[in-house]
C-alpha cells in the first residue's frame, strides 16, 4: 500500500476499491467452499483405509439396494460412504475395477450378459459361478438373493389390444408386428445383447425405431403409458406395470436370463463381517419384498434411505 500514497487521488481510491472488492470476492468464494467440505467428492476419491464405498446406478431401485447394503454394513460398525446415481453398468463396472467403488448392487445374469454376451444362463447358481470366472480378479459376487428384477419387453394396453397380445404372449409373437412398433429403453439398451441386439438375433425382432429413454424410470414409464413408444424395456419389479396395465411379454429363449439381486464387491475392500452382513441381506430379500420396497419409493415417494432402514429393522438386520 506504500506505493498508492504517491499516486494521484483517483488511483488511490481505485486501489482501495479493488482491495475491498477482491476481499469481498475472496470472502464469497471462501464462504462457498466452507459450505460442505465434508462431502467433497474429490476427497471421496482417495478413500481412507477401512471405508467401504457403496455405489449405485442411475435408477431408483439401485439407489434403494445400495442404501440397504450400506446401512446393513453400518449396522456392523463398518464405515460407509455412498456414490449414488453414477450411470450405467458400462460405467460402474469400470469404477469397480479401478477401486473407486467397493460394493455395488448387481443383477447376476445381467452382469454375465455384459461380461460375456453369448454365455448360456441355466440356473441362478450356475450364473453366479460363471460370473465369478469372468470377473476381474479383484472382484467377486456374493450370494444371490431370491429377489429377481429382470429387463423385459413390455407393451402398453393399447398396443396389446390392437395386436391381441396377452400375458401369455411371447416375444416370438411380436415378430410380425415389431416393424410397426417404436421400442424405448435406456441408451445402453440399444447396444446390449440383453437389448436390441439380442432381440434381433434371438427372436428376429426388428423394430421400427428405438427411442432412448432412461433405465426403466419415469421417462420410460411415461413414454410407454402415453404411447410415445409402443414397447419398452420395463423392469419386472416396476410398480407401474400393474398401475398402467402394461403387458410383459414372455421370454421363452431366456434372453434376459436370470437377474437375481446380488452384491458385487471388491475382495480386498470388504472385511469378512461385511461379507456376512451382505449375505444376510440376500437371504432375506425376495421378489415380493423388493416389489413392496420399490412401490414405497416410486409410488409413495418415500426416501429410499428411510425405506432401506425400515426394512433392515423389520428383517432384524440392523
Amino acid at each position: 500500500m506504500t506505493s498508492t500514497a504517491q499516486c494521484s487521488r483517483s488511483t488511490t481510491r481505485y486501489t482501495g476499491a479493488t482491495a475491498v472488492s477482491l476481499a469481498a470476492a475472496a470472502a464469497l468464494l471462501a464462504g462457498c467452499s466452507s459450505g460442505d467440505t465434508s462431502d467433497n467428492p474429490l476427497a471421496e476419491e482417495k478413500t481412507e483405509a477401512g471405508t467401504v464405498v457403496v455405489g449405485s446406478n442411475n435408477f431408483a431401485e439401485s439407489t434403494l439396494l445400495a442404501d440397504i447394503y450400506g446401512e446393513a454394513l453400518r449396522a456392523k460398525g463398518i464405515k460407509v460412504t455412498y456414490k449414488h446415481n453414477i450411470g450405467s453398468r458400462e460405467t460402474t463396472y469400470g469404477l469397480m475395477k479401478n477401486g473407486s467403488i467397493t460394493v455395488l448392487p448387481e443383477y447376476n445374469g445381467s452382469l454375465l450378459a455384459y461380461l460375456d454376451p453369448e454365455a448360456e444362463q441355466e440356473s441362478t447358481r450356475a450364473v453366479n459361478e460363471a460370473v465369478k470366472e469372468k470377473l476381474d480378479k479383484k472382484l467377486t459376487l456374493l450370494e444371490p438373493s431370491p429377489a429377481e428384477d429382470k429387463d423385459s419387453v413390455s407393451v402398453n394396453a393399447e398396443t396389446a389390444k390392437k395386436y391381441g397380445l396377452t400375458t401369455s404372449s411371447t416375444l416370438a409373437d411380436l415378430k410380425d408386428v415389431a416393424p410397426e412398433l417404436v421400442i424405448g429403453g435406456s441408451p445402453e439398451f440399444q447396444t446390449r445383447r440383453q437389448g436390441l441386439k439380442g432381440l434381433e438375433s434371438v427372436y428376429g425382432l426388428r423394430f421400427k425405431s428405438f427411442k432412448a429413454l432412461d433405465a426403466g424410470g419415469p421417462l420410460t414409464q411415461a413414454a410407454l403409458a402415453g404411447n410415445t413408444v409402443q414397447a419398452a424395456d420395463i423392469f419386472t419389479t416396476d410398480p407401474t406395470i400393474v398401475k398402467e396395465k402394461f403387458v410383459v411379454l414372455k421370454d421363452p429363449e431366456n434372453l434376459f436370463g436370470f437377474a437375481n439381486v446380488t452384491p458385487l464387491v471388491r475382495k480386498e475392500g470388504l472385511p469378512q463381517e461385511g461379507v456376512d452382513a451382505l449375505n444376510a441381506v440376500s437371504a432375506k430379500l425376495d421378489t415380493e419384498t423388493l416389489l413392496d420396497l420399490d412401490a414405497q419409493v416410486q409410488l409413495e415417494k418415500k426416501d429410499p434411505l428411510d425405506v432401506a432402514k425400515a426394512w433392515l429393522e423389520s428383517a432384524g438386520l440392523s
Binding site: 506505493s3 499516486c7 483517483s10 488511483t11 481510491r13 481505485y14 486501489t15 476499491a17 479493488t18 475491498v20 472488492s21 469481498a24 470476492a25 464469497l28 468464494l29 464462504g31 462457498c32 467452499s33 466452507s34 459450505g35 460442505d36 462431502d39 467433497n40 467428492p41 474429490l42 476419491e45 449405485s56 442411475n58 435408477f59 431408483a60 439407489t63 445400495a66 442404501d67 455412498y82 456414490k83 449414488h84 446415481n85 453414477i86 450411470g87 460405467t91 469404477l95 473407486s100 432412461d214 424410470g217 419415469p218 421417462l219 419409493v297 416410486q298 415417494k301 418415500k302 426416501d303 429410499p304 434411505l305 428411510d306
Partner: protein, 233 residues
C-alpha cells in the same frame, strides 16, 4: 417426502449444502479463467498477430458442448467436481480473453502517453491505468461467464451426481417429483441474479470516477464485437 425442500438422501446434501457446492463449482472456474485470461489477453494486446489465432481457437473450444467435454475428461479426472470445473474454466477463459483484450485496447493512446510521461513503468501503467479503464469491459465479460457457469454446472448431474443443484433435476426425473426441478431452476436463477448484482456492485466500486448511468460501454464501441452471450450446452 414430497415437499419442496425434501432433498432425496442419495444426493447426500442439504439444500443449502447443494447451494454452497453449486457456487463453488460455478465460481472457482470463473476465477481460474480470469487468472489465466489476464496474462493471455495481455500477450494478445502486446503481440497483435497472436490475437486472431487465439480468437479462432477459443471460438472452436466454445463450440464444444459441455457434456462431451465432461465425458471425455472422466478418464483423466474421474467422476469428480474437477471434471465439471475444468470445462467451465475453459469456457470462462474463452469469454474473458476477448473482453479483456477489447477493454485494454480501448484505452486511448494519449492516456497511455500521459501515464508514461508521469514516469509510470509498463507494469505499473498496466495495473494502474489500463486495467482500471478496462474494468467495465472485464466485468461485462465476468457477468456473462458467471451466468453461463452457474447454468452449466447442472449438466454435471449426468456424469454421476456432479451437478450440485443440477442433481435435483436428475432426482426430479428419477423419482418423478417435478417440485424438485422447480426448486433447482428457481434456486439457480436466484444465484445467477445475485452473483450478477454483486458483479454490478463490483464494477461500481472499481470505477469510482465514472458518473452513474454511463458505465455501460458505448454502443459504438460494442458494434465491432458484441459481448459474447451466456450459453448452456
Amino acid at each position: 417426502m414430497n415437499g419442496f425442500f425434501d432433498i432425496p438422501s442419495d444426493l447426500q446434501h442439504s439444500w443449502s449444502g447443494l447451494i454452497g457446492l453449486h457456487l463453488r463449482e460455478a465460481l472457482l472456474p470463473v476465477a481460474a479463467g480470469l487468472l489465466l485470461a489476464l496474462p493471455l489477453a495481455q500477450l494478445c494486446v502486446r503481440f497483435r498477430r497472436l490475437y486472431p489465432p487465439v480468437l479462432g481457437a477459443t471460438t472452436v473450444l466454445y463450440a464444444i458442448p459441455s457434456l462431451a467435454f465432461f465425458v471425455v475428461l472422466i478418464d483423466y479426472t474421474g467422476q469428480s467436481e474437477l471434471t465439471v470445473m475444468i470445462p467451465l474454466a475453459v469456457y470462462s477463459l474463452v469469454v474473458l480473453v476477448p473482453a479483456i483484450v477489447d477493454g485494454v485496447r480501448s484505452v486511448p493512446g494519449e492516456t497511455l502517453a500521459a501515464a508514461t510521461a508521469m514516469g509510470f513503468g509498463p507494469v505499473r501503467r498496466y495495473l494502474q491505468v489500463q486495467l482500471p479503464i478496462a474494468a467495465p469491459a472485464i466485468v461485462a465479460g465476468l457477468r456473462v461467464a458467471t451466468a453461463s457457469s452457474i447454468s452449466l454446472v447442472s449438466v454435471g448431474a449426468l456424469i454421476g451426481n456432479q451437478g450440485a443443484l443440477g442433481n435435483l433435476l436428475a432426482a426430479a426425473q428419477k423419482y418423478d417429483r417435478p417440485e424438485l426441478a422447480v426448486n433447482a431452476v428457481l434456486t439457480m436463477a436466484a444465484l445467477a441474479i445475485l452473483c450478477d448484482a454483486l458483479l454490478v456492485l463490483l464494477r461500481t466500486l472499481l470505477t469510482p470516477w465514472m458518473p452513474r448511468g454511463t458505465r455501460r460501454p458505448r454502443p459504438a464501441a460494442r458494434s465491432r464485437r458484441p459481448e459474447p452471450e451466456a450459453a448452456t450446452r
